[in-house]
Symmetry: C2
Subunit: 174 residues, 2 copies
Amino acid sequence: MENENCQVVLNKCSYGLYVVTSHLDGKINGQISDALMQVTACPPKVALSINKNELTHDYILKSRVFGVSVLEKKADLSIIKNFGFQTGRKINKFEKIKYVLGKTNSPLLIESIAATFEVEVFEDVDVGTHRLFIGDVIFAKMIENTEVLTYEYYRKRLKSEIHPNSPSYLEEKK
Amino acid sequence: MENENCQVVLNKCSYGLYVVTSHLDGKINGQISDALMQVTACPPKVALSINKNELTHDYILKSRVFGVSVLEKKADLSIIKNFGFQTGRKINKFEKIKYVLGKTNSPLLIESIAATFEVEVFEDVDVGTHRLFIGDVIFAKMIENTEVLTYEYYRKRLKSEIHPNSPSYLEEKK
């Protein structure tokens, strides 16, 4: 099957946009993700797919925890640029970002978000380019019960860029 | 952590709505799911979380394949009632539904959908009430490149019901 056509089809699936964060040895990092979903309600568990090249992947793999900040629809798009298009290996992504440290010590955003929650990983699955982390939601907080930013809205309405490390990345034809 | 509050927060995550189908021993079945996401782009892989009580779960667990029909925004809501609120153990859900059998022999809808794809499962993970099926997308087809139905739109705009077996089910306060 031709991969590009497949991705056009798979882009009909719907996602939110999240800042996924973690920590290791006193350092913090985070990145943009759309590949997150709830997998059970009682008790609440989620799954996250993250590219193995990402620094946040390495932090989660070792710390076994991550934080999720759910971006709101009217989020400042500089947040996506900050977390999605540069690497924490070269800069401190949190330098100009307001945040708190959660119960898992993962940083959680304060602005431009609808909600936050934190996850303790109990299983990870190697799925090739990415790793799937599955965990228990151990803390959750509504910040502002407002409309959230979806991948669809970000991509089509805002005509914005998608990072090649996204599971749903589709290369533009030249 | 109080479970109900957690679910209110987790409902800020975004999902699409899909008819997930499979087959076993010449029988076919399908159900509504929102718990589906792409986990890698190259090659394309997806993960699906499905309640262990569902007949479609049993079919996928044994046949190791499933089909996905991505509901469009203007989908006939009787499809959700048909696939989401009755069990294939008692009735044939496909009796009044137009469908084709895909390459995996999973039924794929023809009407009210934007796209279809089929998955060969390579791994499953027991996550408690649900099982997570992870697989390769082996066939994908765009039916109509139109707006899709999201969980958010279904739940809020259409004020519609959610089945208790959904990973994102939230019991209404009486």
